[in-house]
């Protein structure tokens, strides 16, 4: 979930937050955006967030070689979005579970979300009374 968090932050930051949010994104966002610039990698992340996937099953889902899928997983792993572990003979890919970091980041996002909302509320309140109430 870490990656989603950062990206979400970035997106919200573009919308309405200030430099403080943008500042903490930095290089991490570049890596994550690069990792997610590819459709297959986005799909892998989506599946892995839903539940852990073993690499063989994952590879079976895409019209490309096992090695190509492994390469995509490696890029995701380097960006910190997924983690690979061995389970018997299988390699299993899971989301990065760093609960504390995750909660912190989620709270960052949530705060950004509310700051955006309150900014918009303020803008509406700033309008002349009676204006803009009709569609």
């Amino acid at each position: 979930m870490v990656g989603w968090g950062v990206m979400c932050n970035q997106m919200v930051a573009n919308v309405d937050a200030g430099a403080e949010v943008e500042a903490e994104i930095g290089a991490e966002i570049d890596r994550i955006f690069h990792a997610l610039a590819d459709r297959t990698r986005r799909d892998i992340v989506r599946r892995v967030i839903e539940r852990e996937q073993n690499v063989t099953d994952l590879a079976g889902r895409y019209a490309m070689s096992f090695a190509a899928v492994q390469k995509h997983v490696a890029v995701l792993e380097r960006s910190g979005l997924v983690v690979k572990r061995r389970q018997g003979r299988e390699q299993v890919v899971g989301p990065v579970v760093d609960t504390i970091g995750r909660v912190r980041r989620l709270l960052d996002e949530y705060e950004t979300l509310w700051r955006g909302r309150i900014g918009r509320m303020d803008a509406i309140l700033g309008e002349a009374e009676g204006a803009q109430t009709e569609r």
Partner: protein
């Protein structure tokens, strides 16, 4: 920015904001669905409230629309307490089209308090969450749906930088 304070607890997030407007006008932002739609969702994912029964017990049902025009899953509010123009208690979560809870997670409760100040009104919103999963749900309710679709749009820009 009108935000004056935020507080993070283990299971809740609180934000306090002060507006140079009377309590009643701040209340209208919650009570009037057409106003609510203008601030609840970010500009890229505007919320559409298809129902807003602002009574107890009453429900609001809304969805959001992605930049590609796709509708997200429905979400709903269940009103637990409404005391105009100062107190609001709401349960919210993903729902079906009729506003019945959908999905595995329970709903989250949030409360809104609006009080007069010398210069206008102070609004305190406290949102509770039971777990990281709940927090994710709250974010999903806010804007995360449709997010993959938005990313697709950025492919061209990303390709330039790669």
């Amino acid at each position: 920015m009108p935000v004056t304070d935020t507080t993070r607890e283990a299971d809740a997030f609180t934000v306090v904001a002060e507006f140079p407007a009377p309590v009643e006008r701040v209340w209208e932002l919650w009570a009037d669905p057409r106003k609510l739609e203008r601030w609840w969702g970010p500009p890229e994912y505007p919320a559409t409230f298809v129902r807003h029964d602002f009574t107890v017990p009453g429900k609001s049902i809304y969805y959001m629309t992605s930049p590609e025009g796709e509708q997200t899953d429905y979400a709903a509010w269940g009103f637990i307490e409404i005391e105009a123009p100062t107190r609001l208690e709401v349960d919210n979560g993903f729902s079906d089209a009729d506003g019945n809870p959908a999905g595995e997670l329970g709903w989250n409760r949030f409360s809104v308090r609006i009080e007069p100040t010398g210069a206008g009104a102070r609004m305190t919103v406290r949102a509770g969450f039971g777990s990281p999963e709940h927090l994710e749900q709250l974010l999903g309710l806010g804007m995360l749906e449709g997010f993959l679709a938005a990313l697709t749009q950025t492919d061209a820009i990303l390709a330039e930088g790669a």
